[in-house]
């Protein structure tokens, strides 16, 4: 039965058919739906791990025991997992281990648009790249075969456009699983002390030589000799776009983007008058192929930025700059913190106190946009905690108390705890605010260890954030209601000048978790409203400015968080009480 599946659903399906018994990962757009789908299948355990590094470590253990394992993450997650990755190439694997890495050209929801293909070359690992959901399923299965044949982890690279597009897939059955799994002592392969690692490096180089030969006949590399010109070497989603704008060209469609089949490429280049390399982001294939000494045409620098599409590729193949048409601007619609979002109150206080706020990745990164304009840094997961320490360390004493760090609950567990320990160990005080909305909100409300529930919905021991903070040496830990502006302001004013560190846990559930509960909307008394627009500075989407400058509250959006009422200087905003209700 053919099905319309997203690339992510197809990877989960392919992995399940390949006999995967464990799936690990950390949520990250556009990869999150893979494990969420895998968990629906029988005979496989899918789980969110603390971070991508742990996910890969868990996976390597299971693989060394003999099991097939899938690991999923977004491109920047692979940076976190890169420490085990590079040495896992030396040790190799036993049960097939496939690492899905989802790149985000165009930065739909990321802090950079890095090209993860470089990891394949840097770590010396094979990498496959599908161009639609059908290939995503097939290549997920093939990746497990390659992984076991060469005893190496295999990278499966997706991009947003493949992860989040749906094409027709013909699912198959689940294959045999070779059990039992066991602990087998083999220190020369598994303990990377220099004496053993030197030997394993040699083994890895031999494997790469074999892989280059394998690539020549790899079933995922395909020659489509249309007989026409030009010749195009391409992979991934770019292949689909090329076929659309140049249906009569000859194609070498690479499903395996590392290592490359030198002989096949040589023959292809020789048989065409002119050969283009068409690829999204960096000139990865172009650099490799030019290094082989072959004459091919790459792309202008502008095409290294953002996503490609058929229109851009048409210009690229004409070796032209892109035409930029400009229409008059219309209002933008960036994602916004929801009405009632518990982050809003915290940022209102931080803005009022004119603090310098170090932060990172989550819905709360939106705190940088007007009108809140209260988040000053976002580098990577967990960074704000260490950065606040760095600022405070070099700033003159009188300026230190303007620095504060914010971090989400899931992010704190992912990579904030180590930074907090460093503040305790090396720092000179400072306040870390944990924006605890009881979920991993931005990527779609995935559970995390402090929630006491797993990906599969089972109850488990919940990590207690306040106990963690106390255990690492923070004595001042206060749990606060993020809708209580005065309370938070008082705690911050009291804590910022201290030489000992403080943690404020601003705890209230994400409004998307409490949807369906009876909301208690507020309203504006227009007779009292003085059109000062203070409430509009909350950036709450439930507030609408009227033509006379006064403000109305959209009752169906308002959750009754009360933040706007607290900033109103004339007490014009209050809970809406129906006339027929007794007071």
């Amino acid at each position: 039965m053919k099905k319309l599946l997203s690339g992510n659903e197809a990877v989960a399906r392919g992995a399940w058919e390949a006999g995967v018994v464990l799936g690990t990962g950390y949520p990250g757009t556009p990869s999150s739906e893979i494990l969420e789908n895998l968990k629906e299948y029988e005979g496989v355990r899918a789980q969110w791990c603390v971070n991508e590094k742990v996910a890969l470590e868990v996976a390597s253990g299971a693989s060394w025991a003999g099991a097939r394992v899938l690991v999923t993450m977004k491109h920047v997650g692979l940076n976190v997992a890169s420490d085990p990755l590079f040495t896992l190439a030396y040790t190799g694997v036993k049960g097939g281990l496939v690492i899905v890495v989802a790149d985000d050209p165009g930065l739909h929801s990321s802090q950079n648009e890095q090209d993860s293909r470089h990891y394949a070359r840097a770590a010396k690992l094979p990498m496959l790249e599908p161009s639609d959901s059908r290939e995503a399923r097939e290549m997920a299965k093939l990746a497990f075969e390659i992984s076991e044949e060469f005893e190496l982890p295999v990278l499966l690279r997706l991009t947003t456009r493949v992860s989040h597009s749906r094409t027709i897939v013909a699912p198959g059955e689940r294959g045999e699983i070779s059990t039992p799994f066991a602990c087998i002592k083999d220190p020369k392969k598994r303990v990377m002390i220099p004496a053993y690692a030197r030997l394993r490096h040699r083994v890895l180089e031999k494997k790469m030589e074999r892989l280059i030969r394998y690539a020549e006949d790899a079933p995922c590399n395909r020659l489509e000799e249309g007989g026409g010109e030009p010749g195009i070497i391409t992979s991934g989603i770019s292949y689909q776009y090329c076929k659309e704008v140049a249906p009569d060209a000859s194609y070498l469609k690479l499903g395996m983007v590392y290592p490359l089949p030198i002989g096949t490429i040589e023959n292809f280049v020789r048989s065409s008058e002119k050969v283009f390399i068409v690829e999204e982001l960096d000139r990865f294939l172009e650099t490799e192929i030019k290094a082989m000494g072959m004459e091919v045409t790459g792309k202008r620098p502008e095409y290294c930025l953002g996503e490609l599409n058929p229109d851009r590729i048409e210009a690229l193949l004409r070796e032209k700059s892109e035409s930029t048409s400009s229409s008059p601007p219309i209002p933008v619609r960036p994602p916004v913190m929801c009405a009632g979002c518990p982050h809003r109150g915290v940022f209102m206080v931080l803005r009022k106190l004119k603090l310098f706020v170090t932060g990172d990745i989550g819905c709360y990164t939106l705190g940088t946009l007007p009108p809140l304009s209260a988040l000053d840094t976002c580098l990577c997961m967990g960074a704000g905690v260490g950065q606040s320490e760095g600022f405070r360390t070099v700033l003159p004493a009188e300026d230190r108390e303007q620095v504060v760090a914010v971090i989400g609950d899931s992010t704190f567990i992912h990579s904030g705890i180590t930074g907090l320990i460093d503040i305790v160990y090396n720092g000179n005080g400072g306040v870390v605010i944990i924006l605890d909305n009881r979920t991993t909100a931005m990527t779609g409300r995935q559970p995390h260890p402090a929630m006491g529930v797993t990906l599969r919905g089972e109850e488990t021991t919940a990590t207690n954030l306040e106990e963690v903070c106390r255990a690492v040496g923070v004595r001042r830990v206060r749990v606060m209601n993020p809708h209580d502006l005065q309370g938070m302001e008082d705690f911050l004013k009291e804590s910022l000048p201290l030489v000992e560190p403080s943690v404020m846990i601003a705890r209230a559930p994400c409004v998307l978790l409490t949807r369906g509960e009876e909301p208690r909307p507020y309203r504006v008394d227009l007779d009292t409203c003085v059109a000062c627009e203070q409430c509009l500075q909350t950036g709450c989407p439930a507030l609408v400015k009227l033509p006379d400058g006064k403000v109305r509250i959209e009752g169906f959006l308002c959750t009754g968080c009360g933040v706007c009422a607290q900033v109103c200087p004339v007490e014009a905003i209050g809970e809406y009480i129906r006339q027929d209700e007794p007071r």
Binding site: K2, L4, S6, T29, H108, S109, D132, R161, H164, S165, R166, T167, I168, I237, Q240, Y241, K243, E244, N309, P310, D311, S327, I330, P331, V332, R333, P334, P335, V336, C338, C363, P370, P371, A441, M442, G444, L512, E533, L536, Q537, G539, P541, L543, V544, K545, G549
Partner: protein, 199 residues
């Protein structure tokens, strides 16, 4: 059949869901289909567009100036998508109630008047039909079925050539059984509203 459709709107309006329904129905009717979704970090309130490509096509994205039908569940998003993708002989179906972006509700940007948006789109597409899916859905008794009203309006163009029942079956399977009748009503009301709008 070959048809490029874009369904766009604001997070929460059901654009992606509607696009899945259309693609699945197209496949059930014996066509090939692909869907390309763009929602980014939009948890709620961000812009959403979903491209449905029916026929023997390759990429998941509709090419510029070549959308046969644009279903705009929100006018500003209809303008955003229409300016880039509307085909000169294409159809734009516009649900007129605006959803204001924060910049507009805080008074930092001006929302273009809806009749101006309509006018701009008329200059770009062959047909612009205003179908108030929001009002129709509310009248039927389920405001959340606005996306189904708009899907019915898309069917009203006559460009979707497979049988209506195939779409209604997919819609019925996509929601709880108790919504079957309401959704069918919504779809048919949308189809009629489109025909009234262009007659």
């Amino acid at each position: 059949m070959e048809l490029d459709v874009i369904i766009c709107g604001v997070g929460g309006q059901g654009s992606v869901r509607a696009s899945h329904i259309l693609a699945e129905a197209a496949i059930n009717a014996g066509n090939r289909a692909r869907v390309g979704e763009t929602f980014g970090a939009a948890m709620r309130g961000g812009k959403v567009s979903s491209h449905v490509r029916i026929g023997d096509v390759y990429g998941p994205l509709v090419r510029e100036r070549s959308a046969d039908i644009i279903v705009a569940q929100e006018p500003l998003e209809g303008m955003r998508i229409g300016r880039k993708y509307a085909a000169p002989d294409g159809v734009v179906i516009l649900n007129p109630p605006p959803v204001y972006p924060v910049d507009v509700s805080t008074g930092n940007a001006v929302y273009p008047p809806v009749d101006e948006i309509e006018e701009t789109l008329r200059g770009l597409a062959g047909t612009v039909a205003v179908v108030n899916g929001t009002t129709i859905a509310r009248e039927i008794g389920n405001p959340r079925s606005m996306n189904i009203v708009m899907l019915g309006a898309a069917y009203g163009t006559g460009l979707i050539t497979f049988d209506r029942q195939i779409l209604l079956d997919v819609i019925a399977a996509a929601f709880k059984p108790k919504f079957k009748e309401l959704n069918e009503k919504a779809f048919l009301a949308g189809e009629k509203a489109y025909k009234d709008a262009v007659s």
